[in-house]
Amino acid sequence: MSEEKMDEMITKAAASYNAPPAVVPKEEMWAAIMAARSPGPRLIYGSAPRRQSRFVATSTRVWLGAAAAALLVTAGAVVGRWSAPAAVAPQAVASTVRANPTVVEPGQAPPPVTPDLPAEGSAPRNGSRVIEPVTHVASNGSRSAGSNGRSASTGAAALAGRNATSAYQLATLTHLSDAEAMLTSFRSRTDEKMDAAMAKWARDLLTNTRLLLDSPAAADPRRRQLLEDLELTLVDIVQLSPGAGAQDRQMIEKNLDQGHVITRLRTAIPAGMQKGS
């Protein structure tokens, strides 16, 4: 039998391999696409699409990881830059005898450098002490540690605010990603014995969901709605006993479908990261 003939027979026989149905579910998929793209909570009552996307852009998760890593590195670098000047502020110079800390009044020049400084590395003379850092007295009588003290503290406050926001955002995205993985596993589980493991997983996520709901991460109304819907779903899964009937599971899956929780989770994760990237 020639190769061409064999190829022909193979192609003919392979036609039934994963043969698609004759009718493409266009309208259902379109409804799901529109639901996933529309802003706000996506609760559809009545003629809801049969199911929502179980898979949206897996590759975005790779970006999620990369973006999270980049965010951490950037935050670390910024913290390092801001904290560096404060660390070198009090310089101790082992040199000159000075009985008291020097206090410089406003408008007064700092004291001149003592000309008889010993050579670097030489031992202090008998009776010498470590010089105290020069302290400036402000016009209102208060003392400041140095010229860049105030700006550093303001910058540190702003940085702390930024870091807190970034941390909440990162924590939220990580949590949503975990929740999406959990719910996907819940829907695709093949064995009812897995319900106990699912309940434990859901319980852990539920704790974090509630923490996030009480944090600035829930300030965004859309994200808050998503977290609230997620919380309800997780409560359902936690309460699902190992011996629960198929009806209970179907009810949870139906609620998942109607609330489009998984689709909303998946669209929330890449959307948040794409904006920042």
């Binding site: 039934s16 391999y17 994963n18 043969a19 149905p21 493409v24 996933a36 590759s59």
Partner: protein
């Protein structure tokens, strides 16, 4: 729009893309109607499951509408869309495969005792097994070309490989299938 390489594109396609870029919902629906069947069919061929095929198709169009601004007209809209579709589907299948691999020990344990008495697989099953055993790149090219009628040019654009590589992959895929199904050659001759 002047930067887009649209010279060789049909006017309707250019207009459609421009309208979608402007956020025209009717244009989005038109684009969807034009390409959904082919995208879905290919996703189904790759996944072999209606739910997954729907998921992949939906994800493809969601991503296409999000990224339509990046379409530069260097390839046809169909090729661009199928490149997204293939990326979504293959990534999704890889993810499923990883998940199944993790679950494999449980599945294997549950299937103990049920394997010995199984009948010999018939042609359909052997064919499915042979196609499944092809590497991802060979299988994709074989399914696209021989089963869904894509040209090598289209495959090249959708998979981001040279046309020669597409032809080579198809040749290799066919050779592997011939070897795997050699037992059936006498039946086919008769």
């Amino acid at each position: 729009m002047g930067a887009l390489a649209y010279e060789s594109r049909p006017v309707s396609e250019i207009e459609l893309v421009e309208r979608v870029m402007k956020g025209d919902p009717l244009a989005e629906r038109e684009l969807y109607d034009t390409y959904v069947e082919r995208v879905y069919r290919l996703a189904f061929r790759l996944a072999g499951d209606d739910d997954l095929a729907r998921d992949f198709t939906q994800a493809t169009f969601i991503r296409a509408f999000e990224k339509i601004g990046t379409f530069r007209g260097e390839s046809s809209l169909s090729t661009w869309l199928h490149s997204i579709g293939m990326s979504v589907s293959l990534n999704g299948l890889r993810k499923m495969k990883r998940q199944k691999t993790r679950e494999a020990p449980i599945d294997a344990a549950m299937s103990i005792g049920t394997q010995s008495g199984e009948p010999q697989p018939d042609l359909k099953e052997r064919m499915a097994a042979a196609i499944q055993s092809l590497s991802e790149k060979y299988r994709a090219v074989f399914l696209m070309h021989d089963l869904e009628g894509f040209t090598h040019d289209e495959i090249s654009g959708a998979l981001g490989i040279p046309i020669g590589t597409s032809k080579s992959h198809l040749f290799q895929a066919r050779a592997k299938l011939r070897a795997a199904l050699a037992d059936f050659a006498p039946e086919w001759v008769s």
